[in-house]
Amino acid sequence: MKFTLNIWRQKGPDERGRLVTYEARDVSSGMSFLEMLDSVNQGLIAKGEEPVAFEQDCREGICGSCSLVINGIPHGPDRGITTCQLYMRRFPDGAVITIEPWRARAFPIIKDLVVDRRALDRIMQAGGYISVHTGGAVDGNVLLISKDQAETAMDAAACIGCGACVAACKNASPALFVGAKVSHLALLPQGKPERTSRVKAMLEAVDREGFGSCGNQNECEAVCPKRISVRFIATLNREYLWSGVVESGLPAEPESPHAESA
């Protein structure tokens, strides 16, 4: 198979980037999308050119490292998978494929297709954890959690933090990511004690990082490789509203913003 690739090339964070056209020849239909890029890079290296930088790690859809907006859709044309799980047989022979990085102010480009997604880590550091010491793993069924609750928490916990939701959103909002994290912790007994402070701290971090606000357009849900449901955005909003009701009137508590995001 043969493809024409328009790839975003950008030397560094402060450089101007542009789309550069490459020909990918001798691509086998069984190659994954990233293997196809590897072979293009081999060609570039052989010619003495700079290879295209892109992120990847597990190549099996679990780590959330790979990104890429492929023909205008984060993680490409198939639903419910990451870019590393996409195969070239999905494209017609001779297709033109445009490859761009995640685009958001909060995700500055490091090089070519690699963006800095630490803004998501800083949102997690603001509150996406439980601070009680739980000791060793408890025996199964010591903490009774209903089946529904456990399943819903698990659905939310499937988020791999790839940031495709931000990339797909017209407003570059991370509402689906934050919704997944807040919901999964709020649903389980271990997460309940810090429920109200968590949601506030995480949403404050979202605003600090320069993300946009959720317009409930639900494009995120359609590109999420883990098919996280937008119901968790509603849960996030509900948690936030509730935290306002529960904590208003309580004495102010000094809370320092996380150093890294200052």
Binding site: T98, A104, N171, N218
Partner: protein, 226 residues
């Protein structure tokens, strides 16, 4: 730091205020449409309805001030959030494909502005009587202000009619997304009801627009006449 005022300054808080003020306006738009459907009952009923409204100046002005402040909250926050959202993606995608985000959800700021200009025009036109010099404030046979006659006169003019239809297009697009969206913003989500919530926006939009368009076209086509 836990003061509610601070709570509403965050972007999710702003959205909540937008959703609440927007829903307040939605309720008004529905009542406004239902009230105006009385043109189909003839000039007696319609002018009587106008008298009924104007006979309660306290209620009328409370409603006007309430609506104005709802609109002010809604519009100021809409502009603030829209600017914030534009700012959040400085470099646009060269190729962009939407899978699920509806056209109306992606054009809320545009349809909102169409609405804003339409509302201003509408107020100058029928509330303040400052647009159409050929329209005169007459009294009907019962000595009431002839609002019915004014309305019929207005929509017989094809330009005015076209402007009002354009306003309805903006309203329909805005409401189609707005009502469903506001439910999600306010945290409503329950597996058994989610389809109902999804249908709420298109349903409200359809009902309101059909009602309003029926009035406009009925006059223009001569079904309702002076």
């Amino acid at each position: 730091m836990a003061l509610p005022s601070n709570h509403f300054r965050s972007s999710v808080g702003s959205k909540v205020v937008m959703a609440l003020s927007g829903l307040g306006l939605v309720i008004y738009v529905i009542l406004h449409m239902l009230g105006n459907l009385q043109v189909f009952q003839g000039s007696h009923a319609f002018n009587g309805y106008a008298v009924f409204l104007r006979d309660m100046p306290i209620l009328l002005w409370t409603a006007r001030i309430g609506l104005l402040s709802l609109a002010a909250f809604h519009i100021v926050l809409a502009i603030q959030l829209t600017l914030r959202n534009r700012h959040a993606r400085p470099v646009a995608y060269a190729v962009r494909e939407y899978r699920q985000a509806s056209f109306s959800s992606r054009t809320m700021a545009a349809s909102g502005f169409v609405l804003l200009f339409f509302i201003i025009f509408h107020l100058f036109h029928l509330t303040a009587d400052m647009i159409d010099p050929s329209s005169v404030d007459r009294l009907d046979v019962e000595g009431h202000r002839d609002v019915y006659g004014k309305l019929v006169h207005a929509f017989q003019n094809p330009f005015i009619m076209a402007l009002y239809l354009a306003g309805q297009l903006g309203l329909g697009l805005h409401l189609n997304h707005a009502v469903t969206s506001s439910l999600q913003t306010l945290g409503f989500e329950y597996v058994a009801f989610n389809r109902l919530f999804k249908a709420a926006g298109p349903t409200v939009a359809l009902v309101v627009v059909l009602g309003n368009v029926a009035i406009i076209l009925a006059v223009f086509l001569g079904i309702v006449h002076g």
